[in-house]
């Protein structure tokens, strides 16, 4: 998953769960059925899981662009510079 996809997935998960919670409470209170509330919420959790947990392709629409290896060889490799240590007096 790319960065954009990760952000989308986090928001989607939270929105789906909050909405299914709200709908569950409202419908359960209206029908006076605790069981209905729990079933709707459980359904919402399953839906959120299916939508956000697996690595669907549409979360990878903005992939990171890595440098092509043949291009990298044309330029000098970065050198590691030894660190100067300042001793305490």
């Amino acid at each position: 998953m790319d960065w954009q996809g990760q952000k989308v997935v986090e928001q989607l998960m939270q929105i789906l769960l909050v909405i299914s919670g709200v709908v569950a409470v409202v419908v359960g209170y209206a029908t006076e059925s605790f069981r209905t509330m729990m079933l709707i919420y459980a359904g919402g959790v399953v839906l959120a899981t299916l939508v956000t947990v697996p690595n669907w392709p549409f979360y990878n629409r903005h992939p990171l662009e890595w440098l092509d290896p043949s291009e990298a060889e044309k330029h000098a490799k970065p050198q590691v510079v030894a660190k100067k240590r300042f001793s305490k007096k």
């Binding site: 998953m1 990760q6 952000k7 997935v9 986090e10 998960m13 939270q14 769960l17 909050v18 919670g21 569950a24 409470v25 359960g28 209170y29 006076e32 059925s33 605790f34 509330m37 919420y41 959790v45 959120a48 899981t49 956000t52 947990v53 697996p54 690595n55």
Partner: protein
């Protein structure tokens, strides 16, 4: 959110937290229900009032209990536990409460009832103070919710008394 495990964990945690919120809201909604239970108890007969071999008084009663506890049931009620207690004063204790009968009411349909029964549990005094004793019969109930805090309340019915001599 970079891996399967990370997303699964985040979803699990968030969904359980949201579930806790849902249950709190459901429990809070009980505050908006109007509750007006009613009950009446008659003593049909005092079967025996005797002194046990240990010296304690024991009485056996037949009760006619009628109650309408239907308004206690909300969508968030698991069951209602109701019991009848005899309350009186004695030289040894300022308040004696003796449970005579109880019932577990699982749903609204069973909450309106009338039953004639002898006392389910023995009415035994700590001592021999029951002759001529005046006592209250109190119907207590505990409303046990599906989520949330248990609620307990009662109706006190005064004015009952026992005979003056053993029989």
């Amino acid at each position: 959110m970079h891996s399967f495990g990370y997303r699964a964990n985040a979803l699990l945690t968030f969904s359980v937290t949201a579930l806790a919120f849902i249950c709190a809201i459901a429990s809070f909604s009980d505050k908006f229900s109007n509750q007006n239970p009613s009950a009446e108890i008659q003593i049909l007969n005092i079967n025996r009032l005797k002194k046990q071999s240990y010296g304690n008084d024991e009485v056996s009663l037949t009760l006619d209990i009628s109650a309408d506890l239907q308004s206690l049931f909300t969508w968030n009620t698991k069951q209602v536990f109701a019991f009848v207690a005899a309350e009186y004063e004695s030289p040894m204790n300022s308040l004696n409460q003796v449970s005579l009968w109880d019932v577990i009411i699982p749903d609204k349909e069973h909450a309106k009832f009338r039953i004639q029964t002898s006392n389910k549990y023995r009415f035994i005094d700590q001592g021999h103070n029951l002759r001529g004793k005046e006592f209250n019969l109190t119907l207590h109930w505990h409303v046990m919710p599906k989520t949330g805090k248990m609620l307990a309340d009662k109706i006190v019915m005064p004015g009952y008394s026992l005979p003056d001599a053993y029989k």
